[in-house]
Structure formats: C-alpha cells, structure tokens
C-alpha cells in the first residue's frame, strides 16, 4: 500500500512563498528525522537476517557440511526417497481434494444465499485456529482402535491410522482453508452477472463453469493451490500424531527430518530440510508472480 499526500492547497496560487511553505509542510508530514528512518530500517533488516535469512543459510550450510557427495548420498537413502515419495503423494492428494472442496465451498458462499452461510464461513477457518496436534488427535479419536469407527474399520480390515489415508486426512483437514479463502473474496467481488449472461446466451452449467467462472478465478485458484501445497508438504504436527512414524512407510519429509536429527544424522536431516527450504523459496517466488496477476486482474475488472 502506498500512501500519497494529496496537494490540497490552492493549486492555481502563484504565490511562490505559499507554495514553498506548503512543500515544507508536506515534507515534514511525510518524513521522520533521518536518524529514525535509518534506525527503523536497520532494525527491520537485522530482525529479518537473524530470524529468516540466517536459519536458511544454516540449513544449507549443515546440509553441505560434508560435501556434495554426502549430501546426495543422504538424499539417495531409501528412507529419504520413501519420505519424498510419500510427501508428494500426500500433498498431491490433499491439494486435489481441497481444490474440489474449496471451489465448491467458495462457489456456494459467493454465489448463493442460504441459511447458515455465516456459520459455514466461520467453519472454513476452523483448521487455522485449531492447533495441528489437536487436528491430528481428532482423527485418532475417530479412527483409532478405541475410536468411534475403530471397531468397524478393524472388522473390515481397513487401515486409516498409522497409514497413508490417515496422513492424507490430517493434511487435508489442516490445509482446507487455503483454496476456499483465496477464492471467496474473489468470487464475491465478481458476482454472478457473467454467469447469468452465459446462461442466457444458452450455455449449460458446465460450459458456464469452464468457460466463464474458472477463467475468471484461475489466478486465485493457483494462488490457493500454491499455499495449500506448501503447507501440505511442510505439515508436521497433525501428521506426526496420525503417522505412527513407521520408517520407510509413514514418515513424511518433515517427520524424517526430526527423526534423523534426533539420531544425530545432521547431514541427512539438513539435506532433507534443504529440499523443504527450496520448496519454500519456489513457493515464495511463485506467490509473488501470482499476486501480480491477481492485482492486474482486479485492475482490469473495474468497469
């Protein structure tokens, strides 16, 4: 957000001194003393360096502490590869599910009026306000051996907890709000007129969705998917509760990092952590690009 000081004085005044005085007043309004400015900027930069840049550097420094060969060897471990595969699988599944759920929820909230709408909006934010550990425990209570569905699941020989389905469920729950949150304001702002126009021109519901609605929200969808994916790959708490930490089977990358670290395998731990760090950087860049597109979209909309 940029703040502009609008010149509100008499613009046509030819009196130079008045103008000069106004300019001075403006500068005084806008500008803190130089020392304060420098101090504020320095504090911000120092804080960012210590809390953001330094950890990032440390991750890579430790990962490469014993050379590139050791780094690559750590990543080629079967356990590491299994964790990467599982993480990708879980992220892909939960992002896919949340893409569908998020679209449906945003569509319902933005385009229709129904009783309980406010409640639904609040509910969508629930995963953000609940500690991930609690989110994981909920699934233990539901699907664990002593849980509500535990007996039934055992009878039918279905494994949810301490297996991939449990991890997917927990991840999906924790990352649910991202897509919906990205889309609701966008769709609300766009309203339903274009859809109405499409239908009155003879388009079917599906044609309207794929030719009108989706193109209008595509940047928002990508934005939501991106954040959803980043969180899904990085989720630790909820997944830790439901995973069971079976080595080579139910360890995602964040879980494996912790295990390896606790076993003093620093190079291996940080090698995997570096992959997550790279993911974070890519997400950050993609996010910036998408935000630019979203802003442009907004600008173009204002008819």
């Amino acid at each position: 957000m940029t703040m502009q000081i609008v010149h509100s004085g008499p613009v046509t005044s030819s009196d130079e001194t008045v103008r000069a005085r106004e300019a001075l007043a403006r500068d005084n309004l806008r500008t803190e003393p130089k020392a304060v400015r420098i101090a504020v900027i320095a504090i911000a930069i120092a804080f960012l360096s210590v809390f953001v840049v330094l950890p990032l550097v440390v991750v890579f420094a430790h990962a490469f502490a014993k050379g590139i060969a050791a780094y690559l060897a750590a990543l080629a471990e079967p356990e590491a590869l299994a964790a990467v595969r599982l993480t990708l699988l879980v992220a892909a599944t939960s992002v896919g599910l949340n893409l569908v759920f998020g679209l449906v929820a945003a569509w319902a909230i933005a385009k229709f009026d129904f009783p309980g709408k406010t409640f639904l909006i609040t509910l969508i934010d629930l995963p953000f306000s609940v500690s991930p550990v609690i989110s994981g425990l909920v699934f233990v209570l539901l699907f664990g051996a002593q849980g509500y569905f535990g007996g039934w699941l055992r009878d039918h020989d279905i494994q949810i907890l301490f297996a991939v389905p449990g991890i997917v469920l927990a991840t999906t729950f924790v990352t649910f709000p991202f897509v919906a949150r990205a889309l609701i304001p966008l769709m609300q702002e766009q309203g339903t007129q274009e859809e109405e126009a499409a239908i009155s021109l003879g388009a079917s519901g599906l044609q309207t969705f794929f030719r009108v609605t989706l193109p209008n929200i595509k940047w928002g969808v990508l934005y939501g998917v991106l954040l959803c994916n980043a969180r899904a790959m990085g989720e630790f708490g909820a997944v830790s509760v439901v995973s069971g930490h079976i080595r080579g089977e139910t360890n995602t990358m964040p879980l494996l990092v912790e295990i390896l670290y606790n076993e003093y395998q620093f190079v291996a731990a940080f090698a995997i952590a570096s992959l997550l760090a790279v993911l974070a950087l890519i997400t950050l860049i993609a996010k910036t690009v998408l935000e630019r597109h979203l802003d442009e979209g907004q600008g173009a909309n204002d008819h």
Binding site: A197, A198, S200, G202, A203, S204, N216, N301, H303
Partner: protein
C-alpha cells in the same frame, strides 16, 4: 413474438417486488418499464428472462409457457445494466460466445461464426475493436458490444436492464437515438427498464409506469405524459405542481379558500391537484383561480422559471413564456390551463 405476463407476484422476504402485474407486449414493440428504484421493473425483466422465478403468475413468450423453461432454453437476449461482458475474452469472443456454446448438432462452423460476429460488429459499428478486452473499452462501447453479444443468438425477444444507466449524459443521448433506429432495423420485440422518464418517452413506443410492484399506467408516451392515470404517474413524469386540496359539495378548496375549478364527478374528501408548470397561465391579479406574488425569477432556456407564493403561504414554481414580464414583488393571478385532481 409477443410477451405476456399474468398476475405476476414476487416477494423477497417481506418485500413485495411484484404485486400482481399483468402486461402484454405485442410483436415488434419497444416497451419501456419506467419507475423509481424498488418499483419492481428489473425484477419483472429478470423473470421474463428466466433469471428469477415468480412466486405466482404466468409468463408467456409467443403464447408458450416460459416458466416451464430455464433461462437457457428461452432464447432471450439480455443486456445487463453493467454489461457483464466476459472480462477474460476479447470483444470478438464475447460476441461469439452464444454461438460457440450451442449444442454440436446445431452449432455453426468456425467460418460461419466469424462471419456472424463480423456482421454484428458492423451492426454496432465497432468492428475495429474486435481484438480488445472489455476493460479497454469505454462505457458506450461496452454497452454496444453487450447488445451485439445478446443479438448474436438471434433472440426471440430482447431485454435491456437500464441500458444507459451507467453512461454519461452525452453518450446516453446518442445511444438512445441509436437504439431506436437499431430497433427499427431489426424489429425484435424489446423491453427496456429505465428510471429516466425522458429516456422512456423518447425511445419507447409504449411506456409502462410502475410503482411499488404494481403497474400504474400503460400507454403511449403521449398518453402517460398528457393523460396520467394516477397521482403517482402525474408526479413522476414531467414536472408538476402538486397541491393538497379538499373537495366538498362540488367545490375545490385550497386550505379554506375555494378555487374556481370545476369539481364535477370528484369524490369528496382530501385530494391532490396536479398542474404542469407550463400549464399555469399568468394574468393580472383576480384573473385566475389563484392569487400569487412573484418571489424569484430565473431566466434560462426557452422559458422563465418563477418562484411564486400563493395566498395562503405555499410556494410553487411555474414556467412562463419569456416574453411575459415578471418582476419580483408583482402580484399576479394564476389560471391552470389544464389540471387533474386525484383523490387521496
């Protein structure tokens, strides 16, 4: 194609948007739905288009029950107030949309679609904008593209919601003339909604005046202006002087003063007297039904507008010919050349 609605009722919560509306539009007509905001005119238009559904009543398009069909099947061209152009499509693709989404069996081939779009762009005289996006167009251009898009599907009827509402005054005047001549050219049965009386009177063959979900009057522009059917229509269309009067025993009274006005056939009780500003004729004191004193005179346009105080203290504005000499402080008599009195 005729459009007929019978006893249409629509409520939003406790608000009655349409309260028993009957209307028949003949083939080839250009009808204006005129009324203040909240009078139900847009709701009526949306129900005819199939974008809203009534609580009760019938809609017939060309004699067929339209309520049995969705908006998609009705084949109605609808132009939205804010145009609702597809923002991610070029002008060309916007117009082609209705042709591209047709079922494969009846869809035109690409060459035919291109030819049709070209034809429509020529019709709205904007063929040079074909590759632009809606955000790059002016309001008037968007409006014409929205119209071309609606016409692309060769609609049975054309519905326009406040077609000029979002445009500035000059463009609006041009487009009005343009719409009228376009209608003359393509002659498709059309209804447009407006809150601007001038627009309705200038463009439409027939004007439907609505208020509070009901139709107050249906008639030619002349009819609704010259022979308003209700107090609301008289007050809403044209500039009127409105005075509260009492009708008692064949006499019309303003306050306790009897007026020399015919009261034949009027129901006794509180009533309202309506006179057009230019129908108040100025004469010497004692020459008319009212005595007044000139308080303020403004000279502009084809008439002079005077603020006068009637005996009894009420201030009204009248329009007098410019050659009539009016000075502040003059005592004058006023005689309504034409007037109407409505009960209530």
């Amino acid at each position: 194609m005729t459009i007929e609605v019978k006893n249409l009722v629509k409520t939003f919560g406790s608000f009655r948007a349409l309260d028993g509306v009957d209307l028949k539009v003949e083939s080839g007509e250009l009808v204006a739905l005129l009324g203040p905001s909240g009078s139900g005119k847009t709701t009526l238009l949306r129900i005819v288009a199939g974008l809203d559904w009534p609580d009760a009543g019938e809609v017939l398009i060309n004699g067929e029950d339209a309520l049995a069909q969705g908006a998609r099947e009705r084949h109605v061209g609808f132009v939205f107030q804010h145009y609702a152009l597809f923002r991610h499509m070029t002008v060309f693709e916007n117009i082609a949309f209705g042709l591209r989404v047709q079922p494969r069996a009846v869809r035109k081939d690409e060459a035919a679609i291109r030819a049709r779009v070209k034809e429509l762009l020529d019709l709205v005289q904007l063929d040079w904008l074909s590759d632009r996006y809606p955000s790059q167009l002016s309001g008037g251009q968007r409006q014409r593209i929205a119209l071309a898009r609606a016409l692309a599907i060769e609609p049975r009827i054309l519905l326009l919601d406040e077609p000029f509402g979002a445009l500035d005054a000059k463009v609006r005047k041009e487009l009005r003339k343009w719409l009228r001549s376009l209608h003359h050219e393509i002659n498709v049965t059309s209804i447009f909604v407006t809150h601007d009386q001038e627009e309705a009177l200038e463009v439409a063959n027939r004007v439907v005046v609505m208020d509070k979900g009901r139709i107050e009057q249906i008639g030619s522009p002349d009819d609704v202006y010259e022979r308003p059917a209700s107090a609301f229509v008289h007050g809403f269309i044209g500039e009127s002087i409105e005075l509260p009067v009492q009708v008692e025993g064949g006499v019309v009274r303003l306050g306790d003063r009897p007026l020399a006005l015919a009261a034949d056939g009027l129901a006794p009780g509180a009533s309202r007297l309506f006179v057009r500003r230019h129908d108040m004729l100025v004469g010497p004191p004692g020459s008319g039904a009212f005595e007044a004193a000139v308080q303020h005179v403004r000279n502009f346009g084809p008439v002079q507008r005077a603020e006068v105080v009637l005996s009894g203290g009420r201030t009204i504005e009248i329009d007098a010919p410019r050659d009539k000499e009016l000075r502040v402080g003059d005592a004058i008599g006023l005689e309504p050349r034409r007037y109407r009195i409505f009960a209530g």
